[in-house]
C-alpha cells in the first residue's frame, strides 16, 4: 500500500504538471481538492483517465471521482480494491 501511495503522489505531480510540489509535501490524508492541494474539476477528469489507463478502473460518472479522490489514502484504498491492472 505504501508503494501505491508513493506511486500515486508521483503520478499526480506528473499528470497534473504540479511543478512546484514535491512528493514529500503531499501527506496521505491531505485534502487533494479545494483547500488542500487546490485541484479542480478538470484535474478530477485527468485523474479519472489515469485510473482507467494505469489501473483499469472505469468510472462512468464524474461525480464518483469526488468521493474517490478526497485524499491519497482514500484513493489508494479504492484502487487496491478495484484495480484490474
Amino acid at each position: 500500500m505504501e508503494g501505491l501511495k508513493q506511486e500515486l503522489k508521483e503520478k499526480i505531480i506528473e499528470q497534473l504538471n504540479l511543478e512546484d510540489i514535491a512528493v514529500a509535501e503531499i501527506q496521505d490524508n491531505d485534502s487533494l481538492f479545494g483547500d488542500g492541494l487546490g485541484l479542480d474539476s478538470i484535474d478530477a477528469l485527468e485523474l479519472i483517465v489515469m485510473l482507467d489507463k494505469d489501473y483499469g478502473i472505469k468510472l462512468t460518472d464524474p461525480k464518483e471521482g469526488k468521493k474517490i479522490f478526497q485524499s491519497i489514502e482514500i484513493m489508494a484504498n479504492y484502487i487496491s480494491e478495484h484495480r484490474t491492472k
Partner: protein
C-alpha cells in the same frame, strides 16, 4: 468621434521587448527559419497553479496583458479583445496526436480545453475576475486589426473607456513542419538581418504577444493615438496605391503627411512585391520601416509593428535596425502601417502623435 489613445503597451517577442524602458537597444540576429520568443520571467506574473496548464501563447498573453494593464494603472479593463491567427497550437497538436496515437482512448481534457482559440482572453479575464466584454478574432493576418476595429467601435459607442487589446500567436513544432512542406516557411536557415533581401519563397516564422490599453482618455503615459484602421480582404497590387490614397484621404491626409511607413515585408519573394509597390512609388521619399526580420512572420506579427509605431511616436526616434532607408525626419507625427499575408487580408493602420 471618440479619441482612441494608446495608453500603454507590452510586447513579448523573439527580441528583448518585454522591458518597456528599452526600445530594441539590444538586437538579436538569428540564423534560423523559426524564431522562438524570448521568455519573460513567467513566475513573476503567473502562479504555479495557473501556469501548469498554460502553453506558451497563453503565458505570453497573460504576461503582456499584465504589463500593459500595470503600465496604464488599470485594474480591470472595460473590454478584453484578443486576436490570434492559429490559436493555441501547442495544445491542439498535443490533443490531436494523443487522439491518433492512442486510438481515441485515455484522452485527458486539459489540452482540449486549452486549445480553444479564446483561451488567452479567457485566462486574462479569469485572472482579473473581469466580467466585461470579451471577444477573440481569428482571421489570419487581420486578427489583430479586427481587435482594433472593435476597440475603436466600442470607444465610439461610449460603451467602454479602457479596452485591452492584444495579438498572440505561438509556434507549434509540427504545424511549423507542415508549413515548411508547403513553402510558407523557408526551407533554408536565414540570417535574419538579411531576411528582407531574400529571393526565396516563404518567410521565417516567429511567435509573440503584444498588448495595448486603448482609451478614450489620454494620460501622462500615452504613447500615441490610433486614428484609423481598415481591413481589406482582397487587393491586387495594381489597386494598392489607390487604396492607400483612399485611406489617407478619408483621414484628410495625403502621402506627404506620412512621416514613416511601417511595412510587413517578410522576405517571401512571392509576396513582398506588395510592399515594394509602395516602397518604390508613393513612399519612395518616406522613411520606410520593417520589423519582421526581428520578430518573424506570424498572423498577429502586425501587433509588433503597432508596438514599433507607438514607441516611435512617443520616443520620436527610430532604432536603425528598423530602417530600410534613411530619411531626415524632423518630427514623427503620422505613421501608416500596411500589412498583408500571402496576398490576402490586407490592413492599413494610421497612428498619430497626440
Amino acid at each position: 468621434m471618440s479619441h482612441c489613445y494608446i495608453n500603454s503597451l507590452a510586447c513579448v517577442s523573439a527580441q528583448h521587448t518585454s522591458d518597456n524602458t528599452q526600445f530594441l537597444d539590444e538586437v538579436v540576429v538569428y540564423e534560423k527559419n523559426i524564431l522562438h520568443a524570448i521568455p519573460p520571467n513567467y513566475k513573476a506574473y503567473i502562479t504555479p497553479s495557473a501556469s501548469r496548464r498554460m502553453a506558451k501563447g497563453v503565458k505570453m498573453g497573460v504576461v503582456a496583458s499584465s504589463i500593459a494593464l500595470k503600465e496604464a494603472s488599470i485594474d480591470s479593463p472595460d473590454a478584453i479583445i484578443t486576436g490570434t491567427g492559429m490559436g493555441c497550437l501547442i495544445d491542439s497538436e498535443k490533443f490531436l496526436s494523443a487522439i491518433i496515437d492512442n486510438n481515441e482512448e485515455f484522452l485527458t481534457p486539459t489540452s482540449f480545453i486549452q486549445s480553444t482559440h479564446n483561451t488567452v482572453g479567457a485566462q486574462v479575464a479569469l485572472g482579473l475576475k473581469c466580467k466585461a466584454y470579451n471577444f477573440t478574432y481569428v482571421h489570419a493576418a487581420v486578427s489583430f486589426e479586427s481587435c482594433l476595429v472593435d476597440a475603436k467601435l466600442m470607444l465610439n459607442e461610449n460603451d467602454a473607456s479602457n479596452v485591452l487589446v492584444g495579438g498572440i500567436d505561438e509556434l507549434g513544432e509540427y504545424t511549423t513542419k507542415l508549413h515548411e512542406l508547403i513553402h510558407h516557411v523557408k526551407n533554408e536557415e536565414v540570417n535574419t538581418s538579411k531576411l528582407l533581401d531574400s529571393k526565396t519563397r516563404g518567410s521565417v516564422f516567429g511567435e509573440g504577444a503584444a498588448f495595448f490599453l486603448l482609451s478614450g482618455e489620454r494620460c501622462t503615459n500615452t504613447y500615441a493615438q490610433l486614428k484609423d484602421v481598415a481591413i481589406v480582404h482582397d487587393l491586387s497590387i495594381g489597386s494598392l496605391q489607390d487604396r492607400v490614397h483612399n485611406f489617407l484621404n478619408e483621414n484628410k491626409l495625403s502621402v506627404n503627411d506620412i512621416d514613416a511607413v511601417i511595412l510587413g515585408n517578410n522576405g517571401d519573394v512571392d509576396f513582398d512585391d506588395y510592399y515594394k509597390e509602395l516602397q518604390t512609388t508613393i513612399f519612395s521619399d518616406t522613411q520606410q520601416i520593417c520589423y519582421k526580420h526581428l520578430c518573424g512572420e506570424f498572423n498577429t506579427a502586425s501587433s509588433f509593428g503597432f508596438w514599433v509605431a507607438s514607441k516611435i511616436l512617443k520616443n520620436q526616434q527610430v532604432p536603425d535596425v528598423l530602417k530600410t532607408n534613411t530619411k531626415d525626419v524632423k518630427m514623427y507625427k503620422n505613421i501608416l502601417l500596411y500589412n498583408q499575408y500571402r496576398g490576402k487580408n490586407h490592413s492599413f493602420i494610421l497612428v498619430s502623435i497626440c
